[in-house]
């Protein structure tokens, strides 16, 4: 897929609020967009490094809490009679804090978890999210526990000539999410097509071989995790200030599963996969709402996951790419960039 259809798609999405100013549709698309950002970040790990990281909700939740706490401010005791106090900050600082905190934890998890592979890695990532959920539930002084952090301010943005503007309107939030999503997409594309990306794919295809030609496997895996976590943190921050409330449930396994389904449906290891999968599973629940209870929706997700892995393991985007006559070797739309790099 060359860049032209991609930018046409972005332009069409950007024009949508002007053509179809339906508030409900916009809010559905906004939350779908937030999860697409999460899926894009997960795809970097799941698709390009081949590591099945099932603790992605941890980074999403960390971003949500970091951003919410920075913008609300906090005052907590840290032992020895000392207190740690932060006055309320503007939302954009919270957004940056979300990326930094999530990225930092990404580094930590990367250093810890990449000592092991396969089933062990998967379990460590799940436990990581679970521990954070327990902390969020129980550290009431900081997080309010199950009472949740409420009354978050909406996004604000510095605009030239107008100073800091709060984004109250639905279409403004929509554009902000779209902008961040495009940015994240470009960051991931840049990484995938860089030296780092080639190293990641090399070790996904054959770790022993990659190691033997001198690729520092853990080093690159940690880089990928930090970037992935940072982007997921950004998504978490957007989520927090969009719904204006954060509770410990943001760490739930189900959020990770949602992102995983989006990535594998669209096609892991393809740039557009998370976008396609994210649009499908971001919009489907709202189209089905009223027709079926939420349990039925989750059952449908589970069945979809089983059927996809069994019958369309590479996802929708590679399947479509395979159907289309090969005009040009597709950039980003091929399942395995290795096939492009190798002669």
């Amino acid at each position: 897929m060359s860049a032209v259809p991609g930018w046409c798609f972005v332009a069409a999405m950007a024009a949508l609020p002007l053509v179809l100013p339906d508030l409900y549709l916009l809010s559905v698309l906004t939350s779908a967009g937030i999860f697409i950002i999460g899926a894009i970040s997960l795809n970097l790990l799941l698709g390009y490094t081949g590591q099945l990281s099932l603790g992605h909700a941890a980074f999403f939740g960390l971003g949500a809490y970091a951003s919410a706490l920075a913008s609300l401010g906090f005052d907590i005791g840290i032992g020895f009679g000392l207190r740690l106090t932060l006055p309320p900050q503007p939302v954009w600082i919270g957004f940056l804090a979300a990326i930094a905190v999530a990225g930092g934890f990404g580094w930590l998890l990367g250093r810890l978890a990449f000592r092991v592979r396969g089933a062990y890695f998967v379990i460590i990532t799940i436990c990581f999210a679970q521990v954070l959920r327990m902390v969020a539930l129980n550290w009431v002084e900081l997080t309010q526990g199950p009472m949740a952090l409420i009354g978050l301010s909406p996004f604000s943005l510095w605009l030239p000539g107008q100073g800091v503007v709060e984004l109250y309107a639905k279409n403004q939030t929509y554009w902000l999410v779209l902008g961040v999503a495009v940015l994240c997409f470009l960051v991931v594309r840049q990484i995938v097509h860089s030296r780092v990306g080639r190293a990641l794919v090399a070790l996904r295809e054959n770790e022993t071989l990659a190691r033997s030609v001198g690729i520092r496997v853990t080093h690159y895996l940690v880089i990928a995790t930090v970037v992935s976590a940072g982007i997921a943190g950004a998504a978490g921050s957007l989520f927090a200030h969009n719904v204006r409330i954060v509770d410990p449930d943001v760490f739930l396994f189900i959020y990770t599963v949602t992102m995983v389904i989006m990535v594998i449906t669209g096609g892991k290891g393809t740039l557009w996969g998370p976008v396609v999968g994210g649009l499908i599973f971001g919009l489907l629940p709202d189209l089905l709402r009223g027709a079926a209870p939420p349990e039925a929706q989750w059952i449908a997700y589970g069945v979809a996951m089983i059927l996809l892995v069994m019958f369309l393991p590479r996802g929708i985007v590679p399947a479509i790419a395979a159907l289309m006559p090969a005009r040009r070797p597709g950039r980003g739309a091929t399942a395995s960039p290795v096939s492009q790099e190798a002669p």
Partner: protein
């Protein structure tokens, strides 16, 4: 001191059921190389079956426990035949994703079918605790521990003394070599998954009357089962039994002396530490797990 004794007793009771859960999970991993995400849901399934049989159908309590375990084994066999058999050649990640999908279906089917309200299972045991010196225990809990230990013993006899057990251990060690020796690996896999699921359902059936039965009960327990199995080393059967009791004590003593709120978090923190420092588990010999 009295308090410590009390924690020891409570930890042992909890540990017995944890050992059942861990053994089932580690057996499935050892024989089939499958990370079974449905394990917690089978546990919840067992608890709901006891509830349905005792409260709704009025069947005898002890018979209900047996039936619940058997129904769990049947459900496990169905999952194996339907989902895992076609995926025998697939990589471990694909199988994990399919099992997560299956867990999602099971859990939400429970939520849909039974509603979100927690259910109480009546038991024939007295509601007053048995007091021995400084320690008090509910008779039901003693029964649970005894049955759990009996099941562990029975499982060990099955594995150690029967032909089927030998076939299972052979597959555990080397599936290909076992197949060459005439072991029908396909059926060993089905039996393994059924037994592992049956043990999980039995654990749920036993603990259902102790705690309440709710659709999300399998969530946390499924993850704890992983903690148990990691403690003992993935695929290590005695390790899983030890890990089960260890987690029971850790939760009980940690909850009693360190922090009640973080009781459930100890297990997960421990997994992260164990995997980061000694990924092959605490009781297993050194081997490569990367």
């Amino acid at each position: 001191m009295d308090q410590a004794l009390q924690h020891l007793v409570n930890g042992t009771v909890l540990g017995g059921t944890y050992a059942l859960l861990g053994i089932g999970l580690t057996l499935i991993f050892g024989v089939m190389r499958v990370v079974n995400f449905t394990h917690g849901e089978l546990y919840a399934f067992g608890a709901y079956m006891v509830y349905a049989l005792v409260s709704l159908l009025g069947i005898n309590f002890y018979l209900s426990l047996l039936l619940a375990a058997l129904l769990g084994a049947a459900l496990g066999a169905a999952i194996e035949l339907l989902l895992l058999r076609p995926l025998r050649r697939a990589d471990i990640d694909s199988v994990m994703l399919v099992m997560i999908g299956a867990a999602l279906v099971l859990q939400n089917a429970e939520m849909w079918g039974w509603g979100g309200v927690a259910k109480l299972v009546p038991s024939p045991f007295a509601g007053t605790p048995l007091v021995v010196g400084p320690i008090s225990v509910m008779p039901l809990r003693i029964f649970v521990l005894l049955v759990a230990c009996a099941l562990l013993l029975g499982f060990w006899l099955l594995l150690d003394r029967t032909r089927a057990g030998t076939a299972m251990r052979a597959t555990f060690q080397d599936a290909e070599a076992a197949a060459l020796m005439g072991v029908r690996v396909g059926w060993v896999n089905t039996a393994t998954f059924a037994i592992g699921s049956g043990l999980a359902a039995a654990a749920g059936a036993l603990l259902g009357p102790v705690f309440m039965v709710s659709p999300t009960m399998g969530d946390l327990v499924g993850l704890k089962a992983f903690a148990i199995v990691i403690l003992g080393g993935l695929g290590n059967l005695p390790g899983a039994a030890i890990g089960g009791f260890a987690l029971g004590y850790i939760e009980e003593f940690g909850g009693g002396y360190v922090s009640t709120e973080y009781r459930d978090a100890f297990g997960f923190l421990l997994i992260i530490l164990v995997l980061a420092i000694r990924p092959q588990g605490l009781v297993a010999p050194r081997e490569r797990v990367g």
